[in-house]
Symmetry: C2
Subunit: 425 residues, 2 copies
């Protein structure tokens, strides 16, 4: 029976039972963390072989550069080959960064802000700068634009990607809109992959601002959870067809392929974009860690091997996603107090509680020892207007801990939802 | 005989001989690079053992964090212990960065520029921002301030450090002066170590701008070339004594201790400075490469072992510095056409040619196949007002190549100097 259909008496009984179950959990003194999309230990072990690749004593890049020394600002050639395949650009359309694509994104926004893009006025000199933010989205994207005082505008997500009608209208009318944050495949947190039509419409955008850029964070490009995964169109190819090749900056990393703390980040864009950015990059660094670049290349050899490697990740984490969705299906669906995604890839399950309940649920979980991503974090300025969205990150805990955490989670959802309905009776 | 004392006939003969020797060199088709302070292959080999430290399969930091995963924004505790010793601050006054101290410095200037320091107005919102630049200095420092449109003011170097009278006067009068670039030990390129009095005067500075910061790039803190090295006073200790502890940002790295492309960079400052910077750091990155931090800690164990390790570097490169200085002493000193430093540490020999000759010498060398650091590079905007200074980087070439390059160099100095004197007769 849906909670919305219960009378006051039924709701009170339901609420009392949830309270009692919650008290039981609280007494267990749990201490579990589901707040971030961290790989688990078994996943980290998959790449330990990478640490032995220099046992041969060969530190030479294919162009004869010793990777231990300075030089090769934009990356060694073999890393460009491997990672340009990953993000779908040519070898000369790529820059290899350090261990963090977030850092590459921050740096890129910083360049636009302080120096401008391809001859346009630096954003810092504009009266107003705005970014479009598909919501729910990735909190760390929003923090970057917030740092620079950029105004963020929420764009609703649909099953095929962000609301393109709204985006097309806004960017064509307002030249203070300079960019949009996108996670196009297995979006964070919804797990939505943009449809072909959505990608084409992005590639075809005709923004009023010449220096409008799509920040295309393809963080989960090969991070599939199912045997028949989703693929998205290549945005740079589509943009080229539309004569619009400068419109997109593509980002990716191996943070969730090898090591989150010690992976390789990469950026792809048109030749013109990349050449301008490289000019500025040399001011902020001499070279990134090329030993780690070569480590990755020696370990994987080919892009195909990277894809094979990701199947091992899938084996470890797919059952965790299954567990989360099954528990929600069994415990929440019959009550009509939430909806969620069952993603085919990526790192999150996005849960929508009844309006006004997300903060309460996260607080209840925390007080019983389970840390979730803060409610509101998936929205700019940390404000979820409906207080509904909670990002669940199933990968890190061992499956028995995850089960425990999810049992608590559904109790907290039931408790918060019944409180809400009771208060409205 | 000094060139300045030769008559026209003698000068012509001298010039003709230099021309002839130069033509000989040119015909040899050399291809040598002395432009940057790159360690040589033998130096890189010293740290290869570092790559085996994870053979034990133990990836745990002493606080129980798996260094392969996300987390520990400001570094693992054992890295803080090791590297805070290196730059002379407490464990809680340190941030561990990625592989590049230049990147840490760029980021720090960027924070001051875009967000301001401890509540002061962001530099981007000031009518004018100026930096003091001891000259000759490090070209990459100057490029960072140039990127942000910061006006740079040359400060002459003396044998005990930058001209402190000038600095004290300027910073006390002009609140648009927000910082100064310093390489306090074995300065780049002069190899000068700041005297105790200089360090104390820096620590005692009373700048008009509350957000004035000394960017103390202690890049060569343990990079000695002699058995009885120079030491400088601890700037943060001195600043604390003067009630001035927020005035300095200290930087260092292992780029020239382990691997230039894959070392660890570090920053030290007062607790208040560090806490503010950490707040912003978490916006631009989740964590730096903690595997590389632990790799360094496991390899060295203690700061004392790092110092021992540097003695092996000294054995390899000190003879190269000796060679450079001996050739200059034998070939240039008797002619009075240049002066230079004989540094006790660091990575450079700073050569001052007769006025107006530096560009010509670098060009002559380049045309005969030896690349030097561009003349002017050691000054802001690439402009050496007297066109005198040339930075020689002896570490990278094998000693026989270095000898060849220096033989050419002195011929080019003789050629350029005799051209100059002839033109003035």
């Amino acid at each position: 029976m849906y909670l919305s259909e219960m009378n006051r008496e039924e709701l009170t009984a339901f609420n009392n039972e949830a309270k009692s179950l919650y008290a039981d959990f609280k007494s267990q003194g749990l201490c579990l963390n589901m707040s971030r999309g961290n790989p688990c230990k078994e996943q980290l072990e998959l790449s330990v072989g990478m640490l032995a690749v220099f046992d041969d004593g060969n530190f030479m890049s294919e162009n004869g550069i010793d990777v231990r020394n300075y030089g090769m600002l934009d990356g060694i050639p073999e890393a460009k080959t491997l990672f340009s395949d990953m993000i779908g650009v040519d070898d000369d359309e790529v820059i290899i960064f350090g261990n963090s694509s977030l850092n590459a994104m921050f740096w890129t926004v910083q360049v636009a802000y302080n120096k401008g893009i391809l001859g346009e006025k630096p954003w810092s000199q504009c009266d107003k700068v705005k970014f479009l933010c598909p919501v729910p989205g990735y909190d760390r994207h929003f923090k970057v634009t917030e740092f620079f005082g950029i105004e963020m505008i929420n764009i609703p997500m649909t099953a095929t990607g962000p609301d393109m009608d709204m985006i097309e209208k806004l960017v064509s009318e307002d030249d203070s809109i300079k960019g949009i944050w996108c996670v196009p495949q297995y979006s964070n947190p919804d797990g939505i992959s943009y449809s072909d039509n959505t990608v084409k419409r992005f590639a075809d955008l005709k923004p009023k601002a010449k220096d409008f850029r799509i920040f295309w964070d393809n963080a989960y490009c090969i991070h599939h959870l199912v045997d028949e995964p989703e693929y998205i169109l290549n945005i740079l190819d589509e943009a080229k067809k539309a004569g619009n090749e400068n419109i997109v900056y593509i980002f990716g990393s191996t943070s969730k392929i090898t090591f989150p703390g010690a992976g390789v980040a990469v950026m792809g864009a048109s030749h013109e974009n990349v050449e301008e950015l490289k000019k500025y990059l040399g001011i902020s660094i001499i070279s990134y860690d090329k030993m780690n670049q070569l480590r990755h290349v020696k370990f994987f050899g080919t892009y195909e091997n990277m894809i094979e490697h990701m199947k091992k990740h899938k084996q470890i984490i797919a059952p965790k996603f299954r567990l989360v969705c099954d528990i929600l299906e069994n415990e929440i669906a019959p009550l009509g107090i939430g909806d969620w995604t069952d993603p085919k890839g990526g790192y999150f399950v996005s849960f929508n509680a009844p309006e006004g309940c997300a903060k309460r649920i996260v607080k209840l979980c925390a007080e019983a020892g389970v840390t979730l991503t803060g409610a509101g974090a998936t929205f700019p300025y940390g404000v979820d207007p409906q207080d509904r969205n909670i990002r669940l990150a199933p990968t890190y805990p061992p499956i028995e801990d995850l089960k425990k955490a999810m049992e608590l989670f559904v109790i907290c959802v039931k408790l918060a939802a019944s409180e809400k309905y009771l208060s409205e009776k």
